[in-house]
């Protein structure tokens, strides 16, 4: 699909937005694999057990590594403890935030909501703003001028991506945003995707969040405890975000913008069980985008049903990074460059749809 000159305007209120509308890219119909209704219903079914198990394990590991970090404080052993703690705090929280934002992690609503708020705090993300921006990301995935969550904007700035590994632009952005919202104001892009009736919640959340962070810092100063800010607040969000940032990049970076087929702009990557635990199965990213109401624990089954229609899946995280990095380097001065993924022969046109007895 066409691009809009060499420098792209990624804002939601700039020149790319009318182009996206004119090109039929806004709230468009996306390609979807046909899955029989009964099968899809079974896949969509909510369960509490997998998320309770994974949440308890996640919290237990956080407590374990925080404790080991405390015991080893001042020794070199503290380094691996805080590396592990940081990944659990700043990266595993990202995928929990994501899954709960869809309301699919748990069957029980309050559990979803509780983990969503906890994970939002840990990942240093404003829960209301991101709920709405993520809805837009699913409507207009990687559509320039519409999607607020494009990570590798073109021309790609490598220095910015490196800073992103340490959470610097994310933290700075959230801090500025919290201050603006706490002052009672939203920017024009946010007003573009957050309904008026929801904007007071954004302001209230920003004020509460700033108070909590101020209290943490005040307590750490009072106790003269650097350990405290290493285990709660902004610092662990920053030093632990690197793996979520890499996983996040592999979702779409280097792939085409402005296409209406998630098989072309998302990556499905086969990951090891540890990564899948950290990432809540979001390695099945094409599947997630095509059917966002399927809970994370059912994505491997969905993948089995869809894989004949997908481009060749990436056999490992490393293989995805190996493809993505050179593309990002090229996109530093050639924003028109894309990785073109080949769809299997059994395409949208020749594929025989399965029966949809309930929705015919």
């Amino acid at each position: 699909m066409s691009s809009f000159g060499t420098r792209r305007d990624y804002s939601l209120t700039g020149a790319s937005t009318p182009h996206a509308h004119a090109a039929g890219l806004v709230s468009a119909n996306w390609y979807q694999t046909d899955i029989p209704r009964k099968t899809m219903k079974a896949l969509m079914t909510r369960r509490d057990a997998p998320a309770i198990r994974d949440t308890l394990l996640w919290l237990a590991l956080l407590v374990l590594f925080a404790g080991l970090g405390y015991l080893s404080w001042g020794t070199l052993w503290a380094i691996p403890c805080f590396v592990a703690y940081g990944v659990l705090y700043g990266s595993a929280s990202d995928s929990r935030w994501h899954e709960c934002s869809h309301g699919t992690a748990f069957k029980t609503r309050w559990m979803n909501d509780a983990v969503y708020q906890i994970a939002s705090f840990m990942v240093f993300r404003e829960s209301h703003v991101w709920k709405w921006s993520h809805a837009r990301h699913h409507t207009d995935t990687i559509v320039v001028g519409r999607d607020y969550e494009i990570m590798a904007k073109r021309p790609v700035q490598i220095a910015r991506l490196i800073a992103g590994l340490f959470g610097i632009p994310q933290t700075w952005g959230t801090l500025k945003s919290l201050l603006q919202h706490a002052g009672g104001d939203l920017n024009s892009e946010e007003r573009n995707f957050i309904p008026l009736t929801e904007q007071t919640k954004v302001i209230r959340y920003a004020r509460q969040t700033l108070l909590v962070h101020a209290a943490i810092i005040a307590l750490a100063l009072h106790l003269q405890s650097f350990y405290l800010v290493m285990v709660i607040g902004v610092l662990p969000s920053m030093y632990g975000v690197w793996i979520a940032f890499i996983f996040g990049l592999t979702q779409h970076a280097g792939l085409p913008e402005n296409v209406l087929d998630h098989r072309l702009n998302c990556r499905t990557i086969l990951m090891n069980p540890v990564f899948r635990f950290i990432y809540s199965n979001m390695n099945y990213h094409t599947e997630h985008h095509m059917f966002p109401m399927v809970p994370y624990h059912a994505l491997p089954q969905l993948h089995e049903l869809m894989k004949a229609e997908l481009p060749v899946v990436y056999p490992s995280t490393f293989s995805a990074i190996r493809e993505m990095l050179p593309a990002l380097l090229i996109q530093t001065d050639n924003p028109e460059y894309d990785i073109q993924r080949e769809l299997p022969q059994r395409s949208a046109t020749d594929h025989q749809p399965a029966q949809h007895p309930q929705t015919a």
């Binding site: 899809m40 869809h102 309301g103 709920k131 809805a135 699913h138 409507t139 929801e198 109401m293 929705t359």
Partner: protein, 104 residues
């Protein structure tokens, strides 16, 4: 004034499921709740134009397939972000195993 039209037989919708029904350029979502009662709402989500018949019915709730917005399909009430606007509901009745919808 009532204008009842036949939708389908009751058996065509599983308990705790939903079906799309189109008539005269309008579209509805017809629900059969777990205890067998039948309800109807406008077919499309109030957030974006996505049909609810591809969503998931859980007790009294229909969850939209696009962004998981939830409505109570018995009252039409939106349950929170990203759906803020309620759904319109429509009267239904079941007679001799057939579902009827009042489209007035």
């Amino acid at each position: 004034m009532a204008n009842w039209i036949e939708v389908c037989s009751l058996d065509e919708i599983d308990p705790e499921d939903v079906m799309r029904f189109d008539h005269n350029q309008h579209s509805w979502a017809i629900y059969r709740c777990p205890n067998g009662e039948v309800y109807a709402t406008s077919g499309h989500c109030t957030h974006e134009r996505i049909h609810l018949a591809d969503g998931l019915v859980m007790d009294d709730i229909i969850e939209c397939p696009k962004h998981n917005g939830r409505f109570n399909y018995k009252t039409g009430k939106a349950q929170g972000a990203p759906v803020c606007e309620h759904l319109k509901t429509w009267p239904t009745r079941v007679e001799n195993g057939l579902i009827f919808l009042n489209v007035e």
